[in-house]
């Protein structure tokens, strides 16, 4: 679709000075790696200038840093652009998108609960989904969170999940 190519080219031009890497994974999927110092501007560009819809955000722990991924939908042309930014451990900090996009409020609070990302300038950074008696500073979806049963149990689970013979 010509339309689609045009939109992706415009996004690439706009983000070219801000991103570290711009990857077209397939026809409808674009991944943009934006260093944390530019993430606020890049998110604002997609949300305010391109009027993209923030579908959701996700987080992942890659051992030395925690990544936050914002997934933007361009519904008219059917593409999803993922902005990937990150914060360094031990206290990963990322600029909050919720300060101008209310839809990001809850999902950023959830990422803070589970992965310990601090969202700078978040309008309402209270605990969202963990129980009231959960100890602060413990993040259950971090890689270093102990699995019940210890390292042996974790190795067994991983072996089962990836299947025998296919060690990463």
């Amino acid at each position: 679709m010509a339309d689609r190519e045009e939109v992706i080219a415009r996004v690439e031009r706009r983000l070219s000075g801000l991103c570290e890497r711009f990857r077209r994974r397939n026809e409808r999927r674009v991944y943009v790696d934006v260093p944390p110092e530019h993430s606020l501007e890049a998110n604002r560009a997609l949300f305010d200038e391109f009027r993209a819809r923030l579908a959701t955000a996700s987080g992942r722990d890659t051992r030395d840093r925690v990544e936050v991924l914002y997934h933007y939908c361009f519904d008219e042309v059917g593409i999803v652009v993922t902005l990937r930014t990150w914060g360094l451990k031990p206290e990963p900090t990322v600029d909050s998108v919720a300060q101008f996009c209310p839809g990001a409020n809850f999902v950023e609070r959830e990422i803070h609960d589970l992965l310990g990302v601090v969202f700078r300038n978040h309008p309402d950074p209270r605990r969202l989904i963990l129980s009231d008696d959960w100890p602060s500073g413990v993040f259950p979806l971090r890689k270093d969170y102990p699995v019940r049963g210890g390292e042996k149990e974790r190795a067994r689970l991983v072996a089962r999940l990836i299947g025998a013979g296919e060690k990463p």
Partner: protein, 143 residues
Amino acid sequence: MGLRLWALKKSPWVYHVNVGACNNCDIEVVNCLTPAFDVERFGMVLVPTPRHADALLVTGFCSRQAKPRLQEIYRQTPKPCVVFCIGACACSMGIFADSYHAAGPVDSVIREVDPDAIIAYVPGCPPRPQAIIAGAVKALQSL
């Protein structure tokens, strides 16, 4: 049989507690009450407060947040009462057994409050309404 047990078996009123279920078991509980299975013909009525209840229908694996609430609800229920663990999660925590946020299973949470609690188990994911009704019949017969 004491008067209170006789009254309990005659027309057990139930209170439905969700302590972290995915809603499937809750749908099956509602299915029991609606006309297809219609347990109201046996006198089982859903009541809006545990203080009026003879039985608790508990669904879910019992999360950390829900545990003190479930215990408080059990304390508020007039005794004797029957606790029904509906579904695999309530019976044994199911796939959430090693989860970081689990405080269950339901029977051990209830036994912390009352070691002599009457607890019935209806396994299944979710249990069919027939299974829930069969569990209720068996639990009341065994009293």
